[in-house]
Subunit: 306 residues, 2 copies
């Protein structure tokens, strides 16, 4: 057990990320009390049933009352609304943070609502699964994963340092960058790949001459990895694309250009071009395994028999 | 141990698929003797060192001598050459099969070389990993996976039945379809997804404003699944695209069309269209898990700490 980093933490939204944070905070004793709030009565009831949060409140305002740290764990499109709701109830000297997958938009939505004397340190843990809701979280989600802090200019360095200590206590490695750079990096490593996976799964579903049964049975050939990505929460991803429009469209533009070049190589039978391209991409995989961001075991170490 | 299905099996090519077949054949006692041959002296030496095959031969001709079943386990582009080489040495009544990821092309390349009295039953096990070479195989690769048989018209049903029994003995479920339908189904479930993954990994690698380190560290957000797919053997995949040109280009055309529609929805802020599309793709994932082709555990059941 570490010493508590904050006396009271409030988690607004009780889905995958918030519930994982709660279990990780408890694992390391990083706060005295954690309050929580989710929009629906159903999620609040589930949270109470499974012991998620020391206290589940009936409003966001109640949850943030007296909190030293408030973390917005809602879809990116809801951040502004929630910020407006909690702003009058924030304690002077409190820190507001979030876990949204897009940062420029959160800075713009949340920043203007926050009163003087409240610190604002946007953050984004690069960790997740395709599951969502209060029951999907687990304490080890952030272990050995990165959490990006995106402090806005003039932020109190001490508030940033506290949040960094919290994330490190939850198992994460912490880095800092600007909101715009964050949004470009994530467009490459996450947002564009997700849209592409969604698209490919949609195409397979649409194709009349291939049955769903065939798609499902023969998915082991590569497609099932796309379906995993494309099974993620629709609301979260709608918001990500709408709020990181520019960078996502830029990367998709580059992607289409490159895809057309490879399609042309296939059409003209340019095997050397293909071979060269496919050889280059192997190195990146090696780097990811060396960096500890994935396992070298075949098929991600899936059990082959089930 | 089952009764042997064939007295002698010859495996030509000793990579991922052939080595997995060998271990699966031995696990269930499906043949009295398995001979093997690979192009390079190095792979043959490795095979001898790790006990892969009862006898590793110095030529494909020698390996197929007296074999009741010959399985071509080489890249699709090499199938014709190997067939020409072994044809004069095939035993009357023998069956020739293969494991190539494309079927129309293999039928066209191999068929014409085979003498009268030799059965030809093309096949394709839908199972693999991103690894290759003689040391990458394991006995359970085919367990609970599908193997597609693509018998050409007029094939002896008994020869087909024997091969089916072999694949079932290696743990696979067996289905039959035509070569053209196979190539379309695989273009959807495997070939197009692979090209897309290769493309996206190439784009990330090219982007000057995002460092390789950033791509690698923040890959957990979705991108790492693409890199796994894009780490597969360049020669195998070059051959797949060059030999399944038509179906792959058709699916990529549909994919681009759909991607453009989603890009337009992002650009115009049509959140309903995005949400609806993302909701639909979840059902396919459910189907794949129900069919036992993947695990429901988050992140494919990866260990979260490593
Ligand atoms: N999933 C990932 O892989 C991942 C990774 C990193 C970051 N993120 C980011 O983390 C945030 C949360 O994602 P998640 O995966 O945890 O989502 P989730 O499991 O779908 O949970 C979202 C939570 O937000 C609540 N909520 C929605 N609107 C609200 C509002 N107006 N007021 C209060 N609560 C509200 C929901 O309440 P109800 O349950 O009552 O609907 C739910 O508890 C998103 O911004 C996402 O971009 C996600
Ligand atoms: N990998 C998959 O996921 C997967 C799945 C289903 C089907 N397939 C198909 O299975 C076949 C083999 O794939 P793999 O993954 O096992 O490949 P691999 O691990 O790269 O092995 C290919 C083997 O073929 C040998 N070879 C190449 N050209 C040859 C020739 N002219 N004569 C004799 N041997 C030759 C190679 O010999 P050297 O080692 O000496 O170079 C190597 O042993 C391909 O047709 C592929 O499309 C692959």
């Amino acid at each position: 057990m570490s010493a508590p980093v904050y006396d009271r933490i409030a988690l607004i939204g009780l889905g995958l990320i918030a519930s994982s944070m709660y279990w990780a905070i408890k694992r390391a004793g990083l706060a005295q009390e954690v309050t929580g709030f989710a929009k629906s009565a159903e999620s609040r009831a589930t949270a109470r049933r499974i012991g998620l949060c020391d206290r589940v409140c009936e409003s966001a305002a109640e949850a943030v009352e007296g909190a030293d740290l408030v973390v917005l764990c809602v879809p990116v499109g809801a951040m502004g609304r929630v910020a407006a709701e909690i702003a009058p109830h924030l304690k002077v000297g409190a820190t507001v943070s979030d876990v949204g997958s897009v940062k420029r938009s959160v800075v713009e939505q949340v920043g203007p609502h926050l009163p003087e004397g409240v610190h604002f340190v946007p953050a984004h843990p690069i960790a997740g699964t395709e599951h969502s809701g209060p029951e999907s979280g687990f304490a080890t989600l952030f272990d050995n994963r990165w959490c990006l802090l995106v402090p806005v200019e003039g932020t109190d360095p001490e508030a940033v340092q506290c949040l960094r200590t919290l994330w490190e206590g939850m198992g994460a490695k912490v880095d800092e960058m600007t909101a715009d750079h964050h949004d470009l990096v994530l467009a490459v490593t996450s947002h564009a790949p997700h849209l592409i996976a969604y698209t490919m799964v949609g195409v397979a579903d649409d194709l009349q001459r291939v049955t769903d049964g065939e798609v499902i049975n023969y998915s082991a050939a590569g497609f099932r990895d796309f379906t995993r990505i494309a099974a993620s929460d629709p609301t979260m991803w709608r918001d990500v694309f709408l709020t990181n429009k520019e960078a996502t469209l830029e990367i998709l533009g580059r992607f289409t250009e490159e895809l057309f070049a490879l399609q042309r190589a296939i059409r003209t039978g340019d095997g050397d071009h293909l071979h060269e391209y496919f050889t280059r991409t192997r190195a990146i995989r090696r780097g990811i395994i060396d960096a500890g961001q994935d396992t070298a075991a075949p098929n991600f170490g899936r059990e082959t028999t089930q």
